[in-house]
């Protein structure tokens, strides 16, 4: 599709390049030189991007995996005991914490986001759509540390009051803050997917006498399912990797949460709280790098999944 005719770029006179000193020839030569250098430049930029990814994988991966020289993988993955001061490096509780937090966030955020997306694409009048979408875009732009701060100063007192706990930090607070953070992303992407459903589908549904709810539930949402799924995966990737908003409300105690309001910890919060205080050349530090490597692999796996969903959609279409 974008196969630009390369032949048009090559000047006809190139084959028999004669020493021609006219101004025109000089200009042409310069233009061609620039053309070649620009081509090299864009190639270099794209390879430097791949280089950055390779650097992330190699540097974080190498330091992370070197932890297994002094620590058995079984202890790292399955032990729940993270007390690095006493040489116990079990990341099990943190891994479970991350998975629980992500699951809880999705349980809260996905139904609301999809409902908002349906509201935006099918129900809201045009003027409201415009305002609403702008507001969601503003919400995306608010820094995560501000979300964390709001969670800390506004949400935690409410939770403390409602639960009677004296801290209130924990999975509930963290998942509520995260839900609010991923909500705009998930609903905007789903909104785009729903809006992209052809009008003729809707017309066909209405022509069969369906109500709007029936059209939404049986035609429009199922046809946009793939787009909505990608939105959910994007939100999930963000929830897994989010650090600052979580660290402020989760309590940062490496233990399995008994309930939703006990202080606990996740991979990201544990890394950021401890990394500055440890020697680079210690098992502790390497274990933290291994956690980051785990996060990295999770995020990359989600992207591969996302691409698989999308390419399947293309071949089905």
């Amino acid at each position: 599709m974008r196969n630009v005719n390369e032949a048009a770029v090559i000047p006809p006179a190139r084959a028999g390049l004669q020493p021609d000193n006219s101004r025109y020839a000089k200009r042409k030569k310069r233009a061609l030189k620039k053309n070649i250098w620009f081509g090299r430049y864009v190639k270099l930029s794209v390879f430097s991007l791949c280089f950055v990814l390779a650097m992330v994988l190699v540097l974080v991966g190498k330091t992370g995996l070197s932890v297994f020289a002094t620590l058995s993988p079984a202890e790292f993955f399955f032990s729940l005991d993270w007390t690095p001061e006493e040489e116990h490096f079990g990341a099990g509780a943190l891994i479970i914490g991350t998975l629980l937090l992500t699951a809880l966030t999705l349980v809260i955020a996905v139904p609301v986001s999809v409902a908002i997306a349906v509201f935006l694409s099918e129900i809201a009048p045009n003027w409201l759509k415009r305002i609403y979408r702008t507001m969601l875009d503003i919400l995306v732009g608010i820094p995560s540390v501000v979300y964390g701060y709001l969670g800390l100063t506004v949400l935690l007192p409410i939770i403390r009051h409602a639960s009677g706990e004296n801290l209130g930090d924990g999975l509930l607070a963290a998942s509520l803050v995260l839900s609010l953070m991923i909500l705009p992303t998930v609903s905007r992407v789903s909104d785009d997917a729903l809006t992209a459903v052809p009008l003729s589908y809707r017309e066909a549904a209405y022509a069969l006498g369906s109500t709007r709810l029936q059209a939404i539930a049986k035609i429009i949402v199922p046809s946009a399912a793939r787009g909505i799924l990608s939105a959910v995966i994007l939100g999930m990737a963000r929830a897994i990797g989010e650090t600052m908003a979580v660290v402020m409300v989760i309590g940062n105690t490496a233990q399995l949460p008994r309930d939703l309001v006990t202080p606990t910890a996740v991979l990201t919060s544990n890394i950021v709280m401890q990394i500055s205080n440890v020697e680079f050349d210690s098992t502790w530090n390497r274990a933290l790098y291994m956690m980051a490597f785990l996060l990295l692999l999770l995020a990359l796996a989600l992207i591969v999944l996302l691409r698989a969903i999308r390419s399947k959609g293309e071949s089905a279409a």
Partner: protein
Amino acid sequence: MNNVYSPPVMNSKRHNRTVRALNRLATAGFWLLGSLLMLLILWLLVAILKNGLFRIDFSFLTKVPEELDTGGGIGPVLFNSFYILFLSLVVSIPIGIGAGVYLAEYAPRGKLTEFIRVCVEGLASVPSIVFGLLGIAIFVEGFHIGLTILGGALTLAFLNLPVLTRVTEEAVRAVPQDYRDAAYALGSTKFQCIWRVVLPAALNGIITGVSLTAGRAFGESAVIILTSGLSTSGQIWDFNLLSPGETLAVHLWYVQSEALVPDARDIADKSAAVLVIVVLLINLTFRIPLWLRSRRTR
């Protein structure tokens, strides 16, 4: 989607009535949810801004933070925020746009291009904390320069790169093929075509993307904590690349969790307000030239 065919023996009138009632109920429900969320968002913005907005004065924006006493300002951290943002954009915009142009205009269809795309998307999904650890591994352990503005800015640039690449690619792809055909018909080289025709036409989208990236980078904290540290050199106009470079977003976290000043809550409130206002302003100011341009060409 199992549409069970309901035979007309069933009371179809009653069925119809239930369906309609459900429909009305659902519409009401969607409206309710929509307005509740809208209120929540508005309340959120008000909560951030009202706590700080009216108490911010010029001295707060320019004074040096205090360690123990009340009345500290955010001068140096605000400066560092802009300085690091500027440096990271200087590094990441040319590369990001170059890579985006490559993907949209140069990349041949094939395995290699697919691989590069996976790299870009993969890089975009890397959690910021992982970039922070990368920054430590490179700048603190590799080059032994400690926690510096330079390390923070470059690590932040890594974080910006994939986003810039993606928005550039999308904007360039959206330029109609006719433009390119016309440029080539006039005998331009590929570079001339991209530089004079395609990029100006895509500028709108690219600038919007850059402004979103800049807003995100301004508020980024996990990366900066790990690579630029939790302190400043104590001077406001410190252009030294090797000074420690706490930024405003980091300061908000630091004041809230570790600082000893008695008015920490007050400073945090004001810092949060400044942070959000600046992010909103960044999104606005980047669009002003665009807006002027579209008025001029009209």
